[in-house]
């Protein structure tokens, strides 16, 4: 992929805590530490994959990246602008440059609007993006780009499309304003493999042609490997490991990454009885009361007393890991 060294997004120590109600009226139940200190850079034209178990904070992170959720602390910078600090015109300008595609192709499109109306909407919010007379041509181009036929599909409603086609409409909408960044929150999780392949290929082709950068969130590790240049692994609101796709998958350094990879079913029946799988005990702990020290220690097979008292920082640059005893390659 055509990634350059220019940073389009800089994420600095991002935190989002949600207060929760207690069992009794007017009491506090503490806070859910949904995202708890996440930092990374996104380069122009690259894909950063983000993986992690359900509830680890992926969607909360995604919403903060596009300015739909305010961080409790920390910041997301796009060029010189801080995403959640922008107001009025600046905010609208930022929203144009950073778009989001959501998981569910069935609920993320308004059922009462035709494809034409859905795709024209971004231009109504950002009227200065394109001259009114040229908009229809533009949305025809967009449909064409995502492999739908404008002459057939323009005046249909979402329910008249299959899941994969709806997801392509969502992508066309995200592309309408020619953004620099698209945050994809589980864009293919609801689709079956053959349709998933169509959507993944489309995203890759658009990146080659338009140079857009993706943050690609998913819990399917195979898809993430396929599409990403770099991958970040999240556990209970924090990044525990990040690095280039090949080194992270072939030589995981964090025990959680290793367990996650070993749990992925291998599509090869020969020798399946001999495969070694790390079955993590139990469920992830509650994000209201994360374990002291290393958050993974309650499920880690190599935890020591140090792990219970001292939190391991995410150390390293291109290849980073947060563990006192990283695994050898």
């Amino acid at each position: 992929m055509s990634a350059t060294d220019e940073r389009v997004l800089r994420v600095e120590n991002l935190v989002r805590h949600f207060p929760v109600k207690g069992r009794l009226p007017f009491t506090s139940g503490g806070v859910v530490k949904a995202v708890d200190g996440v930092s990374f850079d996104l380069r122009r034209g690259e894909t950063l994959g983000v993986v992690g178990e359900s509830g680890c904070g992926k969607s909360t992170l995604a919403r903060m990246l596009v300015g739909l959720e305010r961080p409790t602390s920390g910041e997301v910078r796009f060029g010189d602008a801080v995403v959640h600090a922008a107001r009025g015109r600046d905010l609208r300008a930022l929203r144009r440059r950073i778009q989001i595609v959501l998981q569910d192709p069935y609920t993320s499109l308004n059922p009462r609007r035709t494809v034409r109306e859905i795709l024209l909407q971004p231009f109504e919010i950002h009227p200065d993006a394109l001259d009114r007379k040229r908009r229809l041509d533009r949305i025809r181009e967009l449909l064409d780009l995502v492999g739908l036929d404008p002459s057939v599909h323009l005046d249909r409603y979402p329910h008249q499309f299959s899941g994969g086609q709806r997801q392509r409409i969502g992508i066309a909408r995200a592309l309408a304003l020619q953004p620099d960044v698209i945050v994809c929150d589980e864009p293919v999780s609801a689709l079956d493999v053959s349709v998933q392949a169509q959507v993944v290929n489309l995203l890759e082709r658009l990146q080659r042609e338009l140079g857009v950068a993706y943050v690609f969130i998913a819990h399917d590790l195979s898809v993430v490997r396929h599409i990403s240049d770099r991958v970040a692994v999240m556990y209970l609101g924090k990044l525990v490991e990040s690095g280039p796709e090949a080194t992270l998958y072939d030589a995981p350094a964090h025990p959680y990454t290793k367990a996650l990879l070993s749990a992925v079913p291998v599509p090869e029946p020969v020798g399946r009885g001999d495969r070694r799988r790390i079955l993590l005990a139990g469920d992830p702990p509650s994000p209201v009361n994360p374990p002291s020290g290393c958050r993974f220690r309650t499920r880690c097979w190599q935890a020591t007393e140090t792990c219970a008292t001292t939190e391991p920082p995410l150390a390293g640059d291109e290849r980073a890991v947060a563990c006192h005893y990283p695994l050898a390659a």
Binding site: R225, P265, P267
Partner: protein, 329 residues
């Protein structure tokens, strides 16, 4: 005699305009399941997998659904049984787990109450005996502190735990056949591995036959003995799991395998089957896959291929099955 035999099963639903617009969801499916074996049913969304399972389980509303053919459990025909007897069979001899555990569990009763009620009504157990057995079952599906957790309501469990509670309900009456319809699709990989391991363990202990519906090829490769691939309401290929992965004998299976991203390597581009699945209310002439098939010719467009045997006990519904078997080896 096989444990479960399905022969020429057909299911249709009337359309808005009567018979002309009827949805032909299942069009002549035949299957056999032996005790202790796992038969996986693979296929695209809408290919009729769930309707097949529901017809076997006897939980389709008839009418409006129309069901024809034969479903035999240990040689006994189920489709002609009186509703009362049929309910008894599906409750006691066939168990079922689905994708959405929340929808299957009753939100207003504790999980312990739901399990003991089932045992009291179906097995005539005493209140205290049923309670004890319920706790054993919760423990059997590896939920820690089973005795305490029996007093919890479904919403107090995580997604993976709810799935395990549903498995406890499905195996409570020790069925001969377990039907699992996408049992792990909503779960992430670490929990998915735990749940599949649990099902395999119960199967080893009890010799129950498992009909596993999924579109996850990785899961199929890990747990299935035999595979049936469905397309447009028909079985288009049947083989052992090793045979399928060594070389499919149907172009649809070939496309499915090729579109899967691999975790152990990174391919340049994923193969994607062109087009989308046919509308079950308006199937094309000839082979239902011909509009998307790279090998389609005039014979394919005119004549529906039957599921015909191939060497080594496998079968394929493709006019070019012999050639396919040659290329892939």
């Amino acid at each position: 005699m096989a444990l479960l035999e399905v022969e020429d099963l057909r299911v249709s639903f009337p359309g808005p305009g009567g018979d002309a617009t009827a949805v032909h969801a299942v069009n002549g499916v035949s299957l056999e399941l032996e005790p202790g074996r796992t038969l996986a049913i693979l296929g695209e969304s809408g290919s009729g997998k769930s309707v097949t399972a529901q017809a076997v389980m006897g939980i389709l509303d008839v009418p409006p659904a129309r069901v024809a053919g034969s479903v035999r459990l240990r040689g006994r025909e189920l489709l002609t049984l009186a509703p009362k007897q049929r309910d008894r069979v599906s409750g006691e001899e066939i168990g079922m787990v689905f994708q959405d555990a929340m929808a299957a569990l009753n939100p207003v009763f504790t999980v312990g109450d739901q399990l003991s009620e089932l045992l009291r009504v179906r097995r005539g157990m005493s209140r205290s005996g049923a309670r004890r057995r319920a706790v054993e079952l919760i423990d059997r599906v590896h939920i820690p502190a089973a005795k305490d957790r029996a007093r919890d309501y479904p919403h107090q469990f995580s997604g993976g735990m709810r799935q395990r509670i549903m498995i406890a309900l499905a195996i409570a009456l020790e069925p001969d056949v377990l039907i699992a319809d996408e049992p792990t699709t909503a779960l992430d990989v670490t929990v998915q591995a735990q749940v599949m391991e649990l099902i395999a363990e119960i199967q080893r202990d009890s010799g129950m036959g498992l009909l596993l519906i999924t579109h996850d090829l990785g899961v199929v490769a890990e747990v299935a003995d035999d595979v049936a691939v469905m397309y447009a309401g028909r079985i288009v290929e049947r083989a052992t799991v090793e045979q399928i992965f060594a070389g499919p004998a149907h172009p649809y299976t070939e496309g499915l395998l090729a579109s899967m991203p691999r975790i152990d390597r990174r391919d340049e581009e994923l193969y994607a089957i062109p087009g989308s699945p046919p509308n079950p209310a308006r199937l094309p002439s000839g082979c239902p896959f011909h509009l998307r098939c790279p090998r389609a010719d005039d014979v394919c467009r005119a004549t529906l291929p039957a599921l015909e045997p191939l060497p080594a006990g496998r079968a394929s519904a493709c006019h070019h099955r012999e050639e396919l078997l040659h290329v892939s080896h």
